[in-house]
Amino acid sequence: MQEQNKGPGGDAICSQYANDPDMVEIVELFVRELPKRLCSLREAFEQDNHDSLRTLSHQLKGSAPGYGFPSIGRLAGRLEATLREPDASQDAVRGQLEDLIALCERARVS
């Protein structure tokens, strides 16, 4: 479903709703605000604030598919699940966070 475009940092991932006139505006808004979210995620990780990290990933899990980015939703969901484990290792969290951030950086409207 997703078109693949070449872009910096790997193939771009595009919203499933790129051609939906109802959605374009809010998808653009989502993509534009993504870097801000990634900053918050990084910050929370650096401050070792797992609560905040979990909330942020939880929200991304719920919302990204709505904007046409199910793959971002899946990675966010994986990170949230890991954070819910009582003995989650910092390395596992870091690895999944990096994956999520890398994927988000490839998100484009179309």
Binding site: K61, G62, P65
Partner: protein, 317 residues
């Protein structure tokens, strides 16, 4: 006819979304913007509960996983609140376990939609909940209406009367109550048959509705007895209205028994401001006045004004 029913017809229904994630607000507002309802949104459970009272939503979409007050707690409070307990709640949640679903349904949710949700499916589920709600409202209203006359029934009267009396205790408004009893009605049934009696009841109900104001509440109190609750109405005004009803009935010529006119006796108790009367005592006093109208010769209106001074009784023929 009842105030809720009237509101429903007059304004676009509001769907209240309670979700701590702004994206969900944005997505729903975009995806549901062409539906036949408005969307109000709140980012926390506490704020959502406040909004429920302000906007009286038709349906609530509720997230479960929220910081501070979670959705289960919001649901619990909604169901404990008599003003909100009838509002259908659709849960939208990222929590997928059967245990969470069962808990939500146990607490009174009507539907459970898992996140990430498909927006077309969500739209259909909201529509379906809207339809169901319309039917429930219709049934609830039917259960409060008298089948023969179409007026409110006794059960509705009892509840409404108690609400109106407690309302004026808080706001010191005017309020009048009239009880109307058809004179010698039994003889109509006995002489001309029940269809003739039914026709009298229906015609009289219709005449009452034409004479009263939109805000007045006409009820069939039982048998040939009727009640009119008149909010914001001082007793002298209630008396004018009931006089009109009395005269109109007296002048009616009945096709089935043109030589047998009907009359009505009426008792009214009202206040134009403060009163300390309880709803029960008030009703007893109206009943006494009705009895008095009967014993003084029927076809008359007896009125008492109970505005924070000793009751003054006035009557007229």
């Amino acid at each position: 006819m009842n105030s809720t029913g009237q509101h429903e017809r007059q304004r676009v229904p509001v769907v209240l979304l309670i979700d701590d994630c702004e994206d969900v607000h944005r997505l729903l507002k975009t995806r549901l913007r062409f539906e036949a309802f408005e969307i109000a949104a709140s980012l926390s459970g506490a704020e959502g509960l406040e909004l429920v009272h302000k906007i009286k939503p038709a349906i609530i979409l509720l997230d479960l996983d929220m910081p501070e007050m979670d959705g289960f707690e919001v649901l619990r409070r909604l169901k404990d609140d008599p003003e909100a307990s009838d509002i259908p709640v659709l849960v939208i949640s990222g929590m997928h376990s059967p245990h969470d679903k069962v808990t939500a349904f146990d607490l009174g949710a009507v539907d459970y939609i898992t996140k990430p949700f498909d927006l077309t499916e969500l739209r259909m589920r909201v529509r379906s909940a809207m339809r169901m709600r319309q039917l429930v409202l219709m049934l609830a209203q039917k259960a409060q209406i008298d089948g023969l006359t179409g007026l409110w029934n006794r059960a509705y009267f009892d509840r409404r009367w108690s609400n109106e009396t407690s309302r004026i205790k808080r706001y010191d408004g005017a309020l009048s109550l009239a009880l109307l009893d058809l004179d010698h009605f039994k003889a109509i049934n006995d002489t001309y048959g029940h269809p003739a009696g039914d026709e009298v009841l229906q015609t009289f109900a219709h005449q009452m509705l034409q004479e009263i104001r939109q805000s007045d509440v006409a009820c069939r109190y039982g048998g040939e007895e009727f009640a009119i609750i008149m909010p914001d109405t001082a007793p002298e005004h209630a008396r004018t209205v009931c006089e009109r009803i009395r005269v109109r009935l007296e002048e009616t010529v009945w096709p089935r028994h043109p030589n047998r006119p009907l009359t009505v006796s009426v008792g009214i108790v009202g206040t134009s401001g403060m009163t300390t009367m309880t709803s029960k005592r008030w009703l007893e006093q109206v009943d006494n006045l009705l009895y008095r109208a009967k014993s003084e010769g029927r076809n008359r209106v007896c009125t008492a004004d109970v505005t924070m001074r000793p009751p003054r009784i006035a009557d007229a023929g």
